[in-house]
Symmetry: C2
Subunit: 108 residues, 2 copies
DNA sequence: CGTGTAAGGAATTCTGACACG
DNA sequence: CGTGTAAGGAATTCTGACACG
């Protein structure tokens, strides 16, 4: 659950390769970043670095735009999903905290 | 067994990122290719592209060189390993062929 | 709104060679 | 043998802007 994901989420891919892998133009890829849909890392020189996850996300974004969804709405969707995810994480942490406090049970 | 590996073995990483990830110099990385220890893809423009597997292999190579092993000997080791692997693959295929011929058993 | 494009510059990468040892 | 380096050039990427609609 750590080593597997380390490949998928590691931001190491330059925009040219992303262009090839997604079929999108660099203009499109940069624009989606401008609209806060995607968040590449930067090299020391300023080049964008993407992960495989980012590439999958870009393809989803492009599909939605192809369906007529606007970037603003895509962003709202993503925010909502993120909140759901965070909520679950917090709930789990609270339950874990309760268990620890009462029984000292701890996940390995 | 296909999608997981597709990330690890996909050659999408430029030499600069490989340098950062391995701590090796570009000179070293290119030299190991010259000695036939590593085989990056090339972009249309000629830039080298490496996979995460390549990065792991580069680290192994560098460790061996640090131990005093010469590139030629590392190459022999790698060849030997590859032959063992191929032998196993061929043996499996032959067994599979026998089973198919006699019983029509087929792997899904 | 989402995308194409030309512009100019900076960062990245490439090859072949000389150097050291 | 394995690696550093300076050299010159080519490929890659960056930003800000104009255009269309």
């Amino acid at each position: 659950m750590e080593n597997e994901q380390s490949y998928k989420d590691k931001k190491v891919i330059t925009i040219g390769v992303v262009r090839e892998l997604t079929g999108l133009s660099e203009r499109q890829i940069r624009y989606y970043e401008e609209r806060k849909l995607i968040f590449p890392d930067r090299s020391s020189g300023g080049s964008r670095k993407y992960s495989f996850s980012d590439i999958e996300l870009l393809i989803e974004i492009a599909n939605k735009i192809g369906d007529g969804v606007q970037t603003y709405d895509i962003r709202q969707e993503m925010k909502k999903k993120q909140i759901e995810k965070d909520t679950k994480t917090i709930r789990n942490k609270m339950i874990q905290g309760q268990l620890n406090a009462q029984f000292g049970i701890r996940k390995q």
